[in-house]
Structures are given as C-alpha cells and as structure tokens.
Amino acid sequence: MTHPFLFLQWIEQQLHLHIGEHVTYTWFVMALLILVAFLASRSITMVPSGVQNLMEVVVTGIDGLIEETMGKEGKAYFPLIATFALFILVCNLIGLVPGFYPPTANLNTNAALALTVFVLTHVVGFKKHGIGYFKHFMGPIIWLAPLMFVIEIIGHIARPLSLTLRLFGNMYGHEIVLMIFLALVPLFLPIPMMLMGVLIAFIQTFVFTLLAMIYVAGALEEAH
C-alpha cells in the first residue's frame, strides 16, 4: 500500500537520501519542538505570558504527574519523560495533517523509544540497588524464586514489546484506515476518523509516558 503524497518525502527524494519518511519527519518534529522551546525561553519574565505561559503549564503538569508517580527522586528523570511526552504527542498529531506522516507509525521510532525505557529501567535499578536489584525478580516467597525469576524475565521483555507495538498499532492502523477512507469518500468520511485521531494521539502519548514512569518507579522502589 503506497502512501499518498508527503511533502518532506518529496524534498528528500529530490536530494536522493533514501532514508525513510519516519526519519525526515522526525527531523521535522525536532525542528518544530526546538522552535517552540526557543520561543518560550527567549525572554523569560516573572509573570509569564504567551508561549512561555503555555510551556510552563505543560512543564508544571508533567512535573506534577512525575511527582505523583515516582515521588521525590523521580524529579531527576523529568527531562526524559517530558521529552517522551512532547515528542510522541507532536509526532502523533502531525500525522493528522494531510501530507505529513507520523514517525510513530514506524516500528523503528517506537522501538527506539521503548528500548530507551527498557535500558533506563534496568540501569536505574542496578544503580540504586546494586546486586540487590535481582531481588525484584524473585517474588515474595523464597522457594518460588526460580519460577518467579523466569516469569519476571518474560514480563520484563514483554514491556518494550508492548510499548512499541501499542504505539505502532494505534498510529499505523489509524494511517491505514485514513487511507482506505480517503480512497472511498475523499472529503467527508475521513473527518470522524481524524477527530478520533486527535483523541488517540493524546491518549497514546499519555499511556506511553505513564507506563515509562511506572516502570522506572518500579525499578526505584524496594522489592518485596
């Protein structure tokens, strides 16, 4: 199934880069976010207004969510979680604009993000608990430990898999449905799907960010 016309893809084909639309649109999203960040922090005032105010609301909101989920020591992970949230949200949303392709509809983007969370979880666990991090895998009853270990390993591997596929399925599926509806009734049928697309974009961002926070919080807390 071929994609419809994509702006940046056309530019990229002119330059003969052969890099894949998800990368070019990722660069586009990065440029967009950096532009917004620059506008927000250009002239910082005590009483905020405009873009600074908007970004402050976003930052304070995510900060509150992190404190709720991860507690006081979670504040160090704020940049990563906030970047997850902003990046995935903008990636999902630009997919709704005709002529743009959401980078999160590609397995590579999602796998990169999910593997980041996976590696972060274990690095944090080992850094905080040392070798005692293995106690997290043992479970509550000591003589069930071997069985629990296998189950925990499977569960831990399932995490990046589920994170990737959940986001990928939502975004790619949405794209496919939009393409089919576009082929059927070009002007009116995709509109309800696009409205749902906005909702899905926000929900998937929230779910990914929340799960990332919970996994890291799970690695930070004491084992039972």
Binding site: A37, E56, T83
Partner: protein, 142 residues
Amino acid sequence: MISVDWTLLLQFLNFMILLVILNKLLYRPLKKIIDERDETITGSYARAKDLEADIDEKMRRYQQQLNDAKVEANAERNKLKKLASEEEAAILAEAQGKATVRLKSIKTQVANEASDASQTLKGEAKSLAGQITTKILGRELA
C-alpha cells in the same frame, strides 16, 4: 515495509539530540523561573506575615499605653477631687463660723437696742400715762 533496520539507531540518536537540546533550551530556564517565582511568593508571603505580626504587636502596645494613661489620669482626677472637696469643707466651715459669730453679735445688738427701747418706752409710758390721765380728768393729778 514493516521492518526494524539501522534507522532504529538513527531514531535513538535523534531522540537523544532532541533531549539534550530541549533540556538546555526549555526545561532548565523554565524550571529556574518557576522555582524563582515560588521563592518570591513564599518570601513575600512570609514577609507579609511578619509585618502583620509586627503591626499586631505595635497595636497591642499602643492600647496598653492608652490604658495606662487612662488609669493614671483617673487616679490624678480622683486625688484632685478629694483635695477640692476638703478645701470646700474647710471654706464652708469657716463661713459657717463667721456667720454664727455675726448672727450672735447682731442678736446681742438687737437685744441691747430692744432693752434700750423698752427702757425709753417705760419712761415715756409713765409720762404718757400722766398726760392721758390729765386729759381724761381735766385736772392735774395730785
């Protein structure tokens, strides 16, 4: 079509670059200003509370001083009143004494004049009686 290839690492790199740039450009300045604002608000709030406590203390002291002054003024007033009433009694007593003396002297004078008058009257009464008798009898009294 749907495959995981080397672009996974490329995307990871992209994400890391974005993280570093956003951290420097957005999160640090905004967190700084949010913390600054919190401190200003807490500082201002604490200062307002201190000022309020100060004002309360000053009001209390002012009231206290007012009360003390009132009590003192009352005591002073009572003392003066007592003095004044004592003086009043003294003056009254003196005047009373003077009046009694005067009255006595006048009474004595009046009594004297009365006895003088009665003496004179007695003498004249005798001569008057002789005159009346002479008039009535038509002749001289023997």
